[in-house]
Symmetry: C2
Subunit: 154 residues, 2 copies
């Protein structure tokens, strides 16, 4: 399934409304790079939030059964920021989301963290606090394919 | 001037080519949040770079003549990453770009840093290594206005 910029705009408005109805406007956004970057950019502007951060969650597959996930460039959450929204494009297995949540909650116990995504996989180990769609088939996100398509059409 | 997603896609391909012709594919991307986030997301995918980082450059205006710029959440650049591309949507005054460049160069002297933007203001204090357009009039970036426009049309 091709997921277009136009679909994304509509879904982002829905996600924004869901968050606002529950917690109001967050104090800071933390995106999981790279997938959460475009939505964090746009929501940061829509909510007029300058505290838009990113972190890297990189899974290293080795020859053991479980691949390990390394978090890098954890942002510093300020004391005055109480409501933090973590953003990613999809909760797939739920591995990275759950590790990120645990790490942020233990590092910044005075803030409350919730997570918002566009797509939620039904069998993931965690369910996002806010999501817009259930993910079924493979998704070709516009931010992944539009540049390639343009290049091959030129 | 309205700067659309379609214009952006075209310009990002041009920026990508300019960078590749000069330094090849970078080892890591550092975006200045929030403006550089969407382009870093898409270029990170197009180049298959997982090392996509962001930092926050926040200017605090006070009652003195010069406003001061505070950098937060500086990423850690790995030793094996030699060619680092900093990304922002525009070099306007050039203040934040020059402070970011200085700080990264002094913190990670073994890597080489260059900066790429879509828009370059003619009178800025620095000129990007790679840019696509000269910025004249006010620019309404799609990531800033499309959600608002959609909201007001609904």
């Amino acid at each position: 399934m091709y997921y277009s910029y136009e679909d994304f705009l509509k879904d982002l408005m829905i996600l924004k409304d869901k968050v606002e109805k529950q917690i109001g406007i967050p104090d800071a956004l933390v995106c999981i790079a790279r997938g959460g970057m475009t939505m964090s950019h746009m929501l940061g502007l829509a909510w007029n939030i300058r505290a838009v951060y990113s972190l890297n969650a990189i899974s290293y597959s080795d020859h053991k059964v479980q691949s390990s996930l390394i978090l890098e460039n954890m942002p510093v959450i300020k004391k005055e920021h109480k409501k933090i929204l973590i953003l990613d494009e999809i909760i797939d297995s739920g591995n990275s989301a759950s590790v990120v949540m645990q790490k942020l909650r233990s590092s910044f116990p005075e803030s409350s963290f919730s997570i918002g995504v566009i797509f939620q996989k039904p069998n993931a180990k965690i369910v996002a606090d806010y999501f817009v769609r259930e993910a079924g088939e493979w998704i070709d996100f516009f931010w992944e394919v539009d540049m390639l398509n343009r290049a091959s059409n030129d």
